[in-house]
């Protein structure tokens, strides 16, 4: 058999399989979700540089219709506060998602690969964590601390999400650890850690990405809810969640002061959720990707 002829036929007959991202780009929900997410994120991060007023600057009487979105309970410009108030939520939610994805994936993969008792013990502990309502755990700790720091919020939100990611990661990994390429690596005598990192994890990218998108949605909601309940790093600084709480008495007189932060949180979660959904759909169809 001629080597060159074979190589040529391989090159000609096998078109490159598109990556998950390329396939996702064909999904309407992924594109729409992605555009919304990026726009809101840009607004939250760079909004402060183009805001008409400072976040604590009093521009008029409380609950007046001055400015694009009126003023809030202290007479601060709602639009400006909206432009300032997203950064913290965004950064904390993002870091928390990264943390939960890393920790959760590790728990899930180790449980699936370890099997037997490892699996049993790890996952039952995981179930105990799952039994706590997400926000309750954070509230208990935050109440004890009083004035929360940003890293505490990241850790709390991240860890309360991790057990959920762990369940998904275990499910995905279970389908992989029984595949022959994992057995092949074991037969060669690869270290267990290397089997996990080099053989199993790379095959989990896409479903984990979808899960991370979903976790981001939940994290945003959770951070905003904590803000609403008064747990934010700086009580005087603008914060979307806190804004809803501060202005709720003026709901009837100056609707925008509450509606604007509600809408932007809603829009952002819809955006991240659609994106995650798009990725999930691609991975379900994608087969062995």
């Amino acid at each position: 058999m001629s080597t060159t002829a074979d190589a040529v036929s391989v090159a000609a007959a096998a078109p490159r399989t598109p990556s998950t991202f390329q396939k996702a780009l064909k999904q309407k929900r992924f594109v729409v979700g992605g555009v919304i997410t990026v726009l809101v994120a840009l607004f939250a991060v760079f909004g402060r540089f183009v805001a008409p007023h400072g976040q604590n600057e009093v521009v008029g009487t409380p609950y007046s219709s001055q400015g694009a979105l009126g003023t809030d309970y202290l007479g601060q410009d709602v639009l400006s506060r909206l432009m300032y108030g997203g950064t913290e939520i965004l950064v904390i939610a993002l870091l928390a998602t990264v943390l939960s994805t890393v920790v959760g994936t590790l728990i899930g993969v180790v449980a699936a690969y370890g099997g037997g008792w490892w699996d049993e013990v790890i996952m039952r502990l995981n179930d105990v964590m799952l039994a706590f309502p997400q926000i309750l755990l954070s509230l208990v700790v935050l109440t004890a601390v009083g004035q929360p720091r940003a890293w505490m919020l990241v850790v709390l939100v991240g860890l309360s999400n991790a057990p959920r990611t762990a369940r998904i990661a275990r499910g995905v990994a279970l389908g992989l650890v029984s595949r022959d390429f994992v057995h092949a690596a074991e037969a060669l005598g690869e270290k267990r850690s290397r089997v996990i990192v080099a053989e199993v994890l790379p095959n989990m990218n896409a479903p984990l990405l979808a899960e991370a998108g979903l976790r981001l949605t939940f994290s945003i909601a959770l951070v905003a809810a904590l803000g609403f309940l008064g747990f934010s790093t700086d009580p005087s600084a603008a914060n979307w969640g806190q804004m809803i709480q501060e202005n709720r008495l003026g709901l009837s007189t100056q609707t925008w002061s509450v509606l604007a932060p509600v809408l932007i949180i809603g829009l952002f979660t819809i955006g991240t959720n659609l994106t995650a959904d798009g990725i999930a759909q691609v991975t379900q169809r994608g087969g062995d990707d």
Binding site: S9, V10, T17, F181, H183, A184, A187, G189, D289
Partner: protein
């Protein structure tokens, strides 16, 4: 059984079914055909074998008889003539009526065709209700008769079973019974015995052949297995790349194959009666849209001349009922079935034992699946483990390969006991015994490049590293007949045969002395199997590698192995040199296996 309730008003003529000038294309890519220029007549009481490798379009033709194409494909031209009606032109209600009732279909995976939550008896009765066969009282009796026809028990206990309580062969026969109940005139069987043991396969094939002939059914048997075709078909159509390459009655096809592709296919198939030097067909079956101009086989054909690349050759008649799509049919000489046979391995050759297994028992938890197995493997020798599914052949190979830990007894490699499981073995033991898996679609990590996959054992065992390792990878890929172009590919871009070559290259990268091969050709097309066997044989000769070859295919054993162990239910039934065991089997079990193995010679 009582007469069908609704007799069609038209008088029945029994000329079977005819495919005329059929062309099926892809809806997304106009101008690209899946199958083209298919003309085929199925006469009543006749089994026509439609044989081809994966991607040849044989299943597409099969389902087209029911007026069906898979999504993404559409029938662009042609007619399916059944009782002077064109199935393709009928309104869908009538097509629906035809399907199952007049033209039945038996799928490849019968387990998927039966509803797991409905009892067998109920499912058959339901089918008759749907088709309006018989009366409420007679249906149960009809179900019993149907089951008896395919040789299954038909007592109440059996009728009350669910499909998961049946064996694979029984499920397939229930599917056959259900296909035959409405008394169809045409039957399409899509690889109905793939995945069944030879004994079960033999039984299903016999049942099917008898039913077709007694009921005067015109059957199309779609398969990739020429040996099965040789045993069951009256006429054979060989498909290649969406066209019929050769059409002849069975004896003519196997005695005087005239298309170069048919010959190449026959050259790649092992015989039961004699060892052969198997040869694969270079390259791979082109996918729709990537097929060459002119004769579609020209790029892989040994006889191709410039003229073959000009125009698409027509099917031309070379004898009565024998049509060949080759312009050089008169010039390429004759062919003989015994071409490529080689002497069997000499049973008295001195052996230099490298691996010896004694009193091996293997357990899954508390359940023992292998009992007291003893055999040994000589240097540069191939020992085959043969048996049906559940015989424990793969389990033994996994214990030897270090993939299974729960075993007792001795597995000695050059006199030293091997550890239970790869983690308990020395680096040198792990390096020198390499395992190759059955399914190359599962055994290569889809995320890694071929270079990474083949390089890893070298790094792990310190054979080579860095650029030197890359050079070795290229060398190995060359040895398994893959070019350096695949280095940066991921496994998903390769075909099954190419993947298995990569898996072999990975095993060779560790520079092993023993290869444990677990059914490594069973997921591959016959022509690919031929080239893999060719490759293994050359490796054995050039490197002196010993092989433990697990398979269910006795014919393959004859061509590749020197010694054989016949296994049944976890015990060795018979063992010895291949010539002795296969030419003069002493045990009934071995004889039965041999008798049921489809043979083309």
């Amino acid at each position: 059984m009582s007469a069908p309730a609704q007799e069609p008003t038209t008088t029945r003529t029994t000329h079977g079914i005819a495919i005329e000038d059929l062309r099926i294309g892809l809806t997304s890519r106009p101008g690209v055909d899946v199958v083209d220029d298919i003309d085929l007549v199925l006469r009543p009481g006749e089994v026509v074998g439609l044989v081809g490798e994966s991607g040849s379009g044989k299943t597409t033709v099969g389902t087209a008889l029911l007026g069906y194409t898979r999504s993404g494909a559409a029938i662009e031209r042609g007619r399916i003539l059944y009782e002077d009606k064109d199935v393709l032109g009928l309104p869908w209600q009538q097509v629906r009526q035809l399907r199952g009732e007049e033209i039945a279909y038996v799928p490849q995976d019968p387990a998927a065709a039966l509803n797991p939550s409905i009892r067998i008896g109920r499912q058959i009765v339901e089918l008759m209700e749907l088709r309006g066969i018989g009366t409420a009282e007679s249906r149960l009796q009809g179900a019993r008769e149907g089951l008896a026809e395919v040789g299954l028990p038909n007592d109440d206990e059996f009728l009350r079973r669910y499909s998961h309580q049946l064996s694979g062969g029984q499920v397939q026969r229930v599917a056959l019974a259900m296909a035959f109940l409405p008394k169809p005139k045409v039957l399409v069987l899509d690889e109905p015995t793939t995945g069944l043991d030879v004994t079960t396969q033999g039984m299903v094939l016999k049942t099917m052949g008898e039913l077709c002939r007694t009921h005067g059914v015109a059957a199309l048997y779609v398969t990739h297995d020429l040996a099965v075709i040789a045993n069951i078909a009256d006429r054979v159509a060989v498909m290649y790349a969406g066209q019929v390459a050769e059409l002849a009655d069975r004896d003519t096809l196997f005695r005087h194959p005239s298309h170069p592709y048919t010959r190449a296919l026959l050259d790649s198939i092992p015989h039961l009666s004699q060892a052969r030097a198997l040869r694969g067909i270079p390259g791979r079956t082109p996918a729709p849209g990537a097929r060459p101009d002119g004769c579609r086989f020209n790029d892989r054909c040994n006889y191709a001349v410039d003229e073959c690349r000009q125009g698409v050759p027509e099917l031309r008649e070379v004898g009565p009922g024998h049509e060949v799509r080759c312009i050089r049919v008169g010039e390429i000489g004759s062919w003989d079935i015994s071409r490529g046979t080689v002497p069997d391995t000499d049973p008295n050759k001195p052996r230099d034992i490298i691996l010896s297994i004694e009193g091996l028992g293997v357990f899954y938890g508390h359940k023992q699946v292998v009992f007291d197995v003893s055999f040994d493997l000589g240097k540069s020798e191939v020992v085959a483990l043969v048996g049906e599914s559940g015989s424990g052949k793969t389990t033994i190979s996994r214990a030897v390969g270090g993939l299974h830990k729960e075993w007792t007894g001795t597995i000695a490699f050059e006199g030293n006991q091997l550890g239970h499981g790869s983690r308990k073995r020395s680096v040198s033991d792990r390096k020198r015994i390499q395992y190759i898996f059955q399914n190359p679609y599962l055994s290569l990590n889809p995320r890694l490049t071929i270079e990474q996959i083949v390089k890893r054992p070298m790094e792990l065992f310190g054979v080579a590293s860095g650029r030197k390792a890359t050079e070795r990878v290229v060398e190995l890929l060359d040895q398994v007949a893959l070019g350096p172009a695949v280095l940066k590919y991921q496994a998903s871009r390769l075909s099954g045969g190419e993947r298995q070559r990569v898996a072999i290259a990975r095993a060779l990268a560790a520079e092993p002395d023993v290869l444990v091969c677990d059914e490594i050709t069973s997921a591959l097309d016959v022509s690919v199997q031929g080239s893999i066997v060719e490759l293994l044989e050359s490796l054995r000769l050039s490197r002196g590698i010993s092989m433990l070859f697990v398979t269910h295919n006795l014919a393959l054993v004859r061509s590749i192995a020197a010694r054989v162990q016949i296994l049944n239910a976890g015990r060795v039934v018979e063992s010895g040199s291949v010539v002795e065991v296969m030419d003069s089997p002493k045990e009934d079990y071995t004889r039965r296996l041999l008798a049921n193995s489809p043979a083309i010679d």
